[in-house]
C-alpha cells in the first residue's frame, strides 16, 4: 500500500548511473557526467562519488544489482585481490577502460631554490632505509647530492593511505632504488625485503604526509619556499603563477612529457564497468560513449587537468567501449 522505494523487493531498480572511486579521476568523470546530460536530454545526471580508488573497488566489488555502483574509477590498475573479491561476490564480467594519464608532479614555490632531482636523489632523500644500509641520515639536499644546495629536506606529499602514494613509490622511489644493482638482485631473491627497502618512506618529519587536499599542499608551498610538494600534475598546471616545476631526470612535467610517458611520474587512469549492468541501467552505454568522446587531447579530460593517453591506447579503449570486452583477471597483479 505504501511506497516501495525501500528496494527490498525483487523489483529494485535505478535510473541513474553511479560511479565510485578515485579522487584523481573524479574531475574527469564529473565533466563527462555533465556532458552526458547535456547530450542526452531527459537522462538523469550520473552520480559520481569520490571515495578513493580502494574504497571504490570495495563498493564496486560488493555485488551486482541496483544497490551497487556501475562504474569504479581508479588511479591505478585493479589489484588481483580486488578482482577475486569481485568474482566472489558475483561481479564476473568487468570491463576495463584506460581513460587517460595523470602526472605525479614535483613542484616548489616560485621563490624556491630551483632543485633538479632524479628518482635516485628522491629515493635517497626520502627512503626510510636507503639501500638497506640503515636509517636515513640525510638532513639537507646537499647531503644527498653535493650538486644540490644545503637546504633542509622537506617534502609535502600524499599520505601513506592514498593511491597517489602508491604511485610515488612505484614510479619514483623504486626506480631510484633500482639504480643500485644489489637492489635489483634483492627483488629476485626476496620481494618483501626489496619492497621494504625501496618504497618505505622516512617518518622523521622530512616527508610530511599532507592529507588528500592538494590545494593545501600548494598553499603550504607558498608558505615554505624551501619545501617540495608532490601532487597531481593538474594542480601544478593551474598554479603556475605561484609554483614552478622541479624537473626529474631533467624532464619537466609538461603535457607532452607526461602524455608520452617521458616524464617519470606518469600513471594511467582507468574506469571499470560491470557488464551485467549494461542492459539494466539506462544510459550506461551512452555514458561510456561520452567518456570515449572526451578523452582526446582537446576534450574534457585535458580541460580538467589530466593528460590524454597515447593514441594507440585511446584506440584500444574505444574498441573496448564498443565491444564491451571483459577483463582477463590473470594479467592483474
Amino acid at each position: 500500500a505504501c511506497g516501495d522505494q525501500s528496494g527490498g523487493g525483487a523489483g529494485a531498480t535505478r535510473d541513474q548511473i553511479r560511479a565510485v572511486g578515485s579522487s584523481t579521476v573524479y574531475p574527469f568523470a564529473t565533466a563527462v557526467a555533465e556532458l552526458f546530460v547535456q547530450g542526452n536530454a531527459g537522462m538523469k545526471s550520473p552520480i559520481i562519488e569520490s571515495t578513493g580508488t580502494g574504497g571504490g573497488m570495495k563498493l564496486f566489488c560488493a555485488g551486482v544489482g541496483a544497490q551497487h555502483p556501475d562504474i569504479a574509477d581508479a588511479s591505478r590498475r585493479m589489484k588481483k585481490a580486488e578482482f577475486e573479491q569481485c568474482a566472489a561476490n558475483g561481479v564476473k564480467d568487468i570491463i576495463e577502460i584506460q581513460i587517460g594519464v595523470d602526472g605525479l608532479a614535483f613542484a616548489e614555490s616560485k621563490q624556491g631554490p630551483g632543485l633538479k632531482l632524479t628518482p635516485k636523489i628522491v629515493y635517497e632523500a626520502l627512503a626510510a632505509n636507503p639501500y638497506g644500509k640503515g636509517p636515513n641520515k640525510a638532513q639537507t639536499w646537499k647531503d644527498v647530492d653535493p650538486s644540490l644546495p644545503a637546504i633542509a629536506i622537506s617534502v609535502f606529499g600524499p599520505p601513506s593511505t592514498s593511491g597517489t602514494r602508491d604511485s610515488l613509490a612505484e614510479l619514483i622511489l623504486e626506480k631510484g632504488c633500482q639504480s643500485d644493482e644489489a637492489m635489483k638482485a634483492l627483488k629476485e631473491k626476496n620481494e618483501d625485503e626489496y619492497k621494504a627497502t625501496c618504497t618505505r618512506v622516512r617518518e622523521d618529519g622530512k616527508y610530511v604526509d599532507s592529507g588528500e587536499n592538494d590545494n593545501l599542499i600548494v598553499q603550504k608551498l607558498g608558505a615554505n619556499p624551501n619545501a617540495v610538494g608532490v601532487f597531481g600534475y593538474s594542480f601544478l598546471e593551474e598554479n603556475k603563477d605561484t609554483l614552478k616545476d622541479v624537473p626529474i631526470n631533467g624532464v619537466e612535467a609538461t603535457y607532452e612529457t607526461v602524455s608520452t610517458g617521458q616524464y617519470p611520474g606518469a600513471r594511467p587512469l582507468y574506469i571499470y564497468v560491470k557488464k551485467a549492468h549494461m542492459t539494466a541501467i539506462p544510459g550506461l552505454q551512452g555514458f561510456l560513449n561520452t567518456f570515449a568522446a572526451n578523452w582526446n587531447p582537446d576534450g574534457a579530460l585535458t580541460k580538467r587537468g589530466m593528460v590524454a593517453a597515447p593514441e594507440d591506447v585511446r584506440k584500444k579503449s574505444a574498441e573496448t567501449v564498443k565491444a564491451l570486452t571483459v577483463l582477463d583477471g590473470s594479467q592483474l597483479k
Binding site: S6, G7, G8, P27, T30, Q38, A41, S45, D214, E238
Partner: protein, 413 residues
C-alpha cells in the same frame, strides 16, 4: 560561651583584604570579558576572512555577446522551440563560432564553456530573437572572471582592460549560484542542490534526534530508577558523544544501507546517521537542564496530584527547555558541518540535480565545500568561500528559531 566582638570591618587589615578581593573581582570580571571578546574576535576574524573571499563568489563577470542569429549556422525553427530541438541544435558549437566572430580567436579562453546555456535560455525565453541580432550576456571564463574581480594572469588582465574599453564587460550578482547545483565549471556552479540536501538531511536529523533525545533525557532523569542499568545507559550515551563521527558512518553503512537496503547517498540515510550522532548531545544537555530544575517544583506538582508524566511535561520540560535547546543547537550545528560519516554512505558525490525528496541522491553543504576546496580550478576558491557563507547563513537560520524559543522559555526563579 566566649563572645567575640563584632568584626572590625574598618581595620587596616580588613580594608586591605577587601581591596585585594575587589582586585580579584575585577580581574575575574576582566577575564570573563576577555574570554568573550577573544572568542567573539576569533569568530569575527573567520567571518571577515570568509566574507572577504566569499562575497566575490556571489558575483560573476559577463560579456555582452552580439549574436546575429540569421547569420549564424543555427538551424532552429522559431515556431518549434522544444527542449529536444534545442538539445539537438548543437548550441555549444554554434556559440563557439559566434563568439569567434565577435571576440576573435581568443574567444574560447574568454567565454565560459557553458556560455551556450545563456543563449539557449535566451532563445527559450523569446524565440523571436532568432530572426534578428540580439545582445546576450554570457558568463565569462574563469580566468577572465578572476582577472576582472581581482588578480588574474597578466594576459587576462589585458583582456579585461580591452573588453572594458569596448564596454561589453559587466559584473553582476550571480543568481545561478543560488539556483544551480554542482558542476565542473566554477562560473556555472550553484549551491542550491547542496543547500536543499542539507535542508532535507537536517530535517530528518531533527525529526529523529530531538524527540528521541528529549525522551531519553526525560526517562533517565525523571523516571528511571538510579541503578546499574541506568548507569549503563548514561555511560553509553556519554560515550556515544565521543565516538568519532566516521564510525557512525560505518554504522549507517552497515545498518541502513546493507541491512535495511535504504537508498545510497540519500538525505534520509544521511539524516538518520547524523541523528544517531546528534542524539547524545541532546541527551546530555537535556539531562543537565532537567537536573537543574529545583526539586521543590516537582514536589509542588506531585503534591496536588499531578501524575509523573504531567509533572514532567507541564513543569519540568518547559523549565528545562532552554537547556535542551542549547544541546539541540550545538548538536545540530555539528551535524550540519559534518562530512566524514556522509562519505561512508555515499554523500561525498557529484550530484548535479537538486534532490526532490529524502530518498533522492543528495549531497550537503559541508561536503560540497570540501569537494570544491579540492578542485583544481582557482575559480573554485571564491565559490568555496561563498558556499561557506551560505552554510553559515543556514546555520544562523536554523539556530534562529531555537534561540528564539530558548530566550522565550528562559526564566530565573
Amino acid at each position: 560561651m566566649s563572645t567575640r566582638n563584632p568584626t572590625d570591618w574598618k581595620s587596616e587589615a580588613m580594608r586591605k583584604r577587601i581591596a585585594g578581593r575587589y582586585a580579584a573581582e575585577r580581574r575575574f570580571k576582566f577575564a570573563g570579558l576577555f574570554a568573550v571578546v577573544l572568542s567573539a574576535s576569533f569568530l569575527a576574524f573567520l567571518l571577515v576572512t570568509m566574507m572577504g573571499n566569499g562575497l566575490r563568489g556571489f558575483t560573476r563577470t559577463e560579456i555582452a555577446l552580439k549574436v546575429d542569429f540569421p547569420a549564424s549556422p543555427l538551424l532552429l525553427d522559431p515556431k518549434a522551440i522544444t527542449d529536444e530541438a534545442l538539445a539537438n541544435a548543437n548550441l555549444p558549437m554554434v556559440t563557439g563560432t559566434v563568439a569567434k566572430t565577435a571576440l576573435g580567436d581568443k574567444a574560447d579562453a574568454l567565454l565560459s564553456p557553458t556560455a551556450w546555456i545563456s543563449i539557449r535560455d535566451a532563445i527559450k525565453a523569446d524565440p523571436t530573437i532568432l530572426s534578428r541580432t540580439a545582445t546576450i550576456s554570457v558568463p565569462a571564463s574563469t580566468g577572465l572572471d578572476l582577472a576582472a574581480k581581482s588578480k588574474g594572469s597578466p594576459e587576462m588582465e589585458a583582456e579585461v582592460a580591452q573588453l572594458k574599453q569596448q564596454g561589453v564587460l559587466s559584473t553582476g550578482f550571480n543568481f545561478s549560484f543560488l539556483t544551480a547545483s554542482d558542476g565542473t565549471d566554477p562560473t556555472q556552479v550553484g549551491i542550491w542542490g547542496a543547500f536543499k540536501g542539507s535542508l532535507l538531511t537536517m530535517l530528518v536529523t531533527l525529526i529523529l534526534s530531538f524527540p528521541v533525545g528529549v525522551a531519553t533525557a526525560l526517562y533517565l532523569e525523571e523516571y528511571a530508577r538510579k541503578n546499574w542499568w541506568t548507569d549503563i545507559i548514561e555511560v553509553s550515551i556519554n560515550n556515544l558523544a565521543a565516538v568519532p563521527s566516521i564510525i557512525f558512518g560505518l554504522l549507517g553503512l552497515s545498518i541502513f544501507l546493507n541491512l535495511a537496503h535504504l537508498p545510497r547517498s540519500a538525505a534520509l540515510v544521511g539524516g538518520m546517521t547524523l541523528a544517531l550522532m546528534t542524539m547524545p548531545v541532546i541527551v546530555i544537555a537535556g539531562r543537565n537542564a532537567i537536573k537543574s530544575v529545583p526539586p521543590s517544583i516537582r514536589d509542588a506538582a506531585l503534591g496536588i496530584g499531578a501524575s509523573p508524566v504531567q509533572v514532567v511535561f507541564q513543569h519540568v520540560l518547559p523549565l528545562a527547555l532552554p537547556g535542551i535547546l542549547t544541546g539541540t543547537i550545538i548538536g545540530m550545528a555539528r551535524a550540519l558541518g559534518e562530512t566524514a560519516p556522509l562519505l561512508m554512505i555515499g554523500m561525498r558525490a557529484f550530484i548535479a540535480t537538486p534532490p526532490g525528496g529524502v530518498t533522492d541522491p543528495a549531497t550537503v553543504l559541508p561536503v560540497q565545500i570540501f569537494l570544491w576546496s579540492d578542485e583544481v580550478s582557482k575559480g573554485f576558491v571564491e565559490k568555496t568561500s561563498a558556499a561557506i557563507i551560505v552554510l553559515l547563513a543556514f546555520l544562523l537560520a536554523m539556530n534562529g528559531l531555537a534561540i528564539y524559543l530558548r530566550n522565550k522559555f528562559e526564566t530565573r526563579w
